[in-house]
């Protein structure tokens, strides 16, 4: 046949016909060395490669099963022999841990089962789980399973005779975790290197700023006149940061778990592995950390639970819980003030329906107190007293008042009921403990009448509010009642003292703020009502006495600073679109912040004094959060505090002097800085001007000789020209 166009194709052998093309050669060239390991190519298949010793890992031995005689099966009958029944029961139990590939029921000389059985699972992990779950399982009154891995026998038989105690690990010196509280004497070197030193010679509070939408975390010291940066790290946390309650640690959240940092250089102290952690909570004395991860349950991995309690100092996992509906509110585990107990609400399935219980656990064992939960049908909420191990909880009313609602105070661990109070016509209830634990205020929403609507919802008519104040320190815990007609927007106890403030809404736009003083024996006395305030939140200073009336959210961030000793308004100002208000632990300064989580522009925080004067305005790109570092309780006794207050004048003079020195030092530095800048810049400008002058002839050339260098030079003059025009000609004839 005639040659075709593709005669250039490889190996064209025209003998065999036009369409035949020889196959390309697939074999490797002769000196080819395979440099890709087999694992990379076939890794997943290789994992299933049968191992030599692997077989034994999946075998478990179950001991303690009943001994049953092996009977002959009666021909023609459907009834199972006793042995078969036993086998079915046990197999059903063990099938749930994995696929059983092999089983062996050894039988002794008398034709009875020896009392133990061997099971083999497909995978060693399944065997391990079966051991963990069923070891100690009670089959019936007389038979308890004892389950082990087959390999365990060998391991325990071969324990060496000489036992070496584990070597003591060197104590990791974490440094001084409380460095941030220390006072150093004002040595000459301290002044010069105050910015680089990590200690706090002048007792400034520290605060942490999370900015750049979480990408950057910075810790500052609130020094005057400008804050000093102590530490800044990018991507220190993946989600958010939190200080521990006494300020010792900074916790950061990551995809794999939680890390704690602290000490002078903020080194990593501990790590807790809990994949997918979303929320954390510290116990009040910083002994324990609770983490919550919604992911753990859904992955179905046994052994990782949603809520885990860790011990902070050792990093050990103490106890874990699976999440149920009670974890809808965080914190799910609530601690007593001294870290001795923690409790949670649970809905437990019982034979005759679900029952709400309060489960109280004690530390350090993390076991259920008295091995029994507190069964309280219908309990809605509970809270610990901040100063004693007392729980208060409440049960709503049943059937519109058939059984009244009840608030109960319970002492732990004795479970002795200190006080109960029945309340009628209750819609809802909120409990507020005062920080010193002396009073408990219960806010009750009450109705006059209740109507049941067509679609089974209940409509309440005539809603009013009551405050029940429990006086914990008096004998028999007397309760005082107080009624309020208006709708209550906010409630806040004074942290130190016996006052509380409420915001009532009189009309849509204006709210009243009322201050009450709590005395035992009578209902709370109204101290003062401030009317027509744009306020929907209350922030007391942690030392008491001062309060900020804040209008957040729809009121766009207006603030009034009130001194509650005489109810004068010390200052009023606003921070547009403010989302957070944070007092520092000493009560001297306040932050108002616009968080990026709430508002996408204008993020930053302002620093105010407690009197309402703005000290600083910081604009920080995409700032998420600013938190003061908490301080532990003061070590001074009451007498010492009184002494200091008496001699305040003497100390005051000292501090004033210090402040003056600091201010003058700052301005001197500033001026020096400025002088340097001016010098550098004028040098540069002189160079430019030289160059410009040299270029002048060229410029004139380009512009046809018109000098454009200054306004008045050549040609910039305006000439005035007067032109007369005849507008109108009028002829008037005068007689």
């Amino acid at each position: 046949m005639s040659r075709r166009k593709n005669s250039e194709s490889i190996g064209n052998d025209s003998e065999f016909g036009d369409n035949y093309v020889e196959e390309p050669d697939f074999s490797d060239p002769e000196d080819f060395v395979d440099d890709i390991a087999e694992e990379e190519l076939l890794g997943d298949i290789l994992q299933h490669k049968p191992k030599e010793t692997g077989g034994f890992d999946s075998i478990i031995v179950v001991d303690g099963i009943p001994q049953v005689a092996k009977e002959e099966k009666k021909p023609g009958s459907d009834q199972k022999t006793r042995l078969e029944k036993l086998q079915n029961i046990i197999k059903k139990l063990y099938n749930s841990y994995g696929t059983i590939t092999n089983e062996y029921w050894p039988i002794d000389a008398n034709n009875k089962t020896k009392g133990y059985v061997f099971f083999e699972y497909k995978r060693p992990e399944q065997a391990a789980e079966a051991v963990k779950a069923t070891n100690g399982h009670k089959l019936d009154k007389t038979h308890t399973f004892v389950v082990n891995l087959f390999t365990d026998f060998e391991k325990y038989a071969n324990i060496s005779e000489t036992w070496q105690p584990p070597e003591p690990q060197p104590y990791p010196d974490l440094g001084n975790l409380h460095y941030f509280l220390e006072l150093t004497p004002n040595t000459p070197s301290a002044n010069a290197s105050a910015a680089t030193r990590r200690q706090e010679p002048d007792c400034f509070n520290q605060y942490a700023v999370l900015s750049d939408a979480g990408g950057s975390t910075a810790i500052y010291s609130n020094s005057l006149p400008e804050p000093t940066l102590i530490e800044e790290r990018k991507l220190w946390t993946e989600k958010y940061i939190k200080w521990s309650p006494l300020g010792t640690y900074l916790a950061t959240l990551h995809g794999k778990g939680v890390a704690l940092w602290g000490g002078e250089k903020f080194g990593q102290i501990k790590r807790f592995s809990h994949p997918g952690v979303e929320f954390i909570d510290f116990s009040p004395c910083e002994k324990y950390l609770v983490t919550f991860s919604p992911m753990a349950e859904s992955h179905g991995q046994p052994g990782t639970h949603a809520i885990v309690v860790w011990e902070v100092l050792t990093g050990q996992e103490k106890r874990s819980f699976s999440a149920d509906r009670s974890a809808a509110v965080w914190p799910a585990l609530r601690w007593s003030h001294n870290d001795k107990y923690f409790a949670r609400l649970q809905r437990v399935e019982r034979k005759d329906g679900p029952v709400e219980t309060i489960s109280i656990y004690e530390t350090p064992s993390c076991g259920l107190l008295d091995k029994k939960s507190l069964e309280v049908p219908g309990v809605r909420d509970f809270s610990w007293s901040p100063s004693d191990t007392i729980i208060s909880y409440w049960v709503p009313e049943v059937n519109y008042g058939e059984t009244p609602a009840r608030v109960t105070l319970l002492k732990i661990p004795s479970r002795e009921v200190i006080r109960t109070k029945n309340l009628f016509s209750v819609i809802d209830l909120k409990m507020h403990w005062q920080s010193s634990g002396e009073h408990l205020c219960v806010k009750v929403d009450r109705y006059n009448r209740a109507k049941k609507e067509k679609d089974d919802t209940i409509k309440y008519v005539g809603v009013h509010y009551n405050f029940e104040i429990f006086h914990l320190r008096e004998k028999n815990v007397p309760v005082d009642s107080m009624e309020i007609k208006d709708k209550i927007m906010a409630f806040a106890w004074e942290p130190v003292g016996s006052k509380f403030a409420i915001v009532t809404s009189v009309s849509n736009t204006s709210n009243n703020v009322s201050f009450y003083c709590v005395k035992s024996g009578t209902e709370p006395a109204l101290l003062k009502t401030l009317e027509k305030k744009a306020c929907n939140h209350l922030f007391w200073s942690p030392r008491g006495q001062h309060i900020i009336l804040a209008g957040l959210l729809n009121l766009n961030g207006v603030f009034e600073f009130v001194d509650t000793n005489d109810f004068t308004v010390m200052g009023a100002n606003d921070h547009f679109m403010c989302t957070d208000v944070e007092w520092d632990p000493t009560g001297r300064y306040v932050f108002t912040a616009v968080s990026w989580w709430g508002h996408k522009i204008d993020n930053g925080f302002w620093l105010w004094t407690f009197q309402g004067r703005v000290v600083h305005r910081h604009n920080v790109q995409r700032m998420c959060n600013v938190q003061w570092r908490p301080r532990p309780k003061t070590l001074l006794s009451e007498r010492q505090i009184k002494n200091i207050k008496k001699n305040l004048n003497k100390y005051g003079a000292q501090f004033d002097l210090k402040d003056k020195m600091r201010a003058s030092r700052a301005s001197k530095e500033l001026i020096e800085g400025r002088q340097r800048l001016v010098k550098a810049f004028t040098e540069y400008r002189n160079k430019c001007i030289e160059l410009w002058k040299e270029q002048k002839p060229r410029r004139l050339q380009l512009r046809d000789g018109v000098d454009t260098d200054s306004l008045s030079a050549g040609g910039g003059e305006m000439e005035e020209e007067s032109v007369e025009l005849i507008v109108k000609k009028e002829v008037t004839i005068i007689p």
Partner: protein, 224 residues
């Protein structure tokens, strides 16, 4: 000579043209003195002539500032220097009085002062809003910045009237020392009068404001 740029639209890339305005033919876009296409790069948002008509400086949508040499080729301009100091679009660039420095106003909330010949950034002025325009005073070491939200975000900012301000910064110390209120929409363009005694500003609200300085402005001094 006139230099102008075209926008990236209708399939045409962004291009820089330099044409001769002295003849009628010269204005025809088909026969420019220099034509620089910017095919793969970010589009040009602002342009300035160099001091002796030797080069052009352009600011781009990505925040880059590029210097183009016009003397080299006939129709091609050569990119001589490029810097990328801003992280977002450059809204405006303005020269100072002698053409040796220029200031760029960018959407990344800052304005920067550059040297004309080397494109070296010398000063940075920080604000919290996108800066739409900046101008250098001819007689004092001051600059003025004007900005505000993007037009579409205006309704979400403070509802107080006249909150949009022209802000004055000291050129060397980068510190703000004065604000002039008046506009109730973002300020889009600003410029000092060539004699330095007043300035003009135009805004999104449709108003042009001419503001003369009172004696206190001229007497104001920073301590140093």
């Amino acid at each position: 000579m006139i230099a102008y740029t075209t926008d990236k639209a209708m399939g045409n890339p962004c291009e820089i043209f330099v044409v001769d305005s002295r003849t009628a033919d010269g204005l025809n876009a088909a026969d420019p003195i220099v034509k620089i296409p910017i095919t793969n790069g970010p589009k040009v948002t602002s342009m300035l002539w160099g001091p002796l008509d030797e080069y052009l400086v352009t600011g781009h949508e990505s925040g880059e500032v590029v210097q183009w040499d016009l003397r080299s080729g006939k129709t091609e301009g050569k990119k001589t220097i490029m810097t990328h100091e801003h992280s977002n679009k450059i809204n405006d660039m303005q020269l100072n009085q002698d053409g040796t420095m220029f200031i760029t106003a960018s959407k990344d909330h800052t304005a920067k002062l550059f040297d004309m010949a080397t494109l070296e950034p010398m000063k940075t002025f920080k604000t919290e809003r996108p800066v739409n325009s900046a101008s250098i005073s001819p007689i004092k070491d001051h600059i003025v910045l004007g900005g505000g939200q993007d037009a579409m975000d205006v309704t979400t900012t403070s509802s107080r009237q006249g909150k949009f301000e022209a802000r004055f910064y000291h050129l060397i110390f980068e510190e703000e020392f004065a604000r002039v209120k008046g506009h109730f929409g973002p300020i889009n363009s600003l410029m000092f009068h060539p004699d330095g005694k007043s300035f003009a500003s135009g805004g999104e609200d449709g108003y042009i404001r001419l503001q003369e300085f009172d004696p206190a402005y001229f007497e104001f001094r920073f301590d140093y």
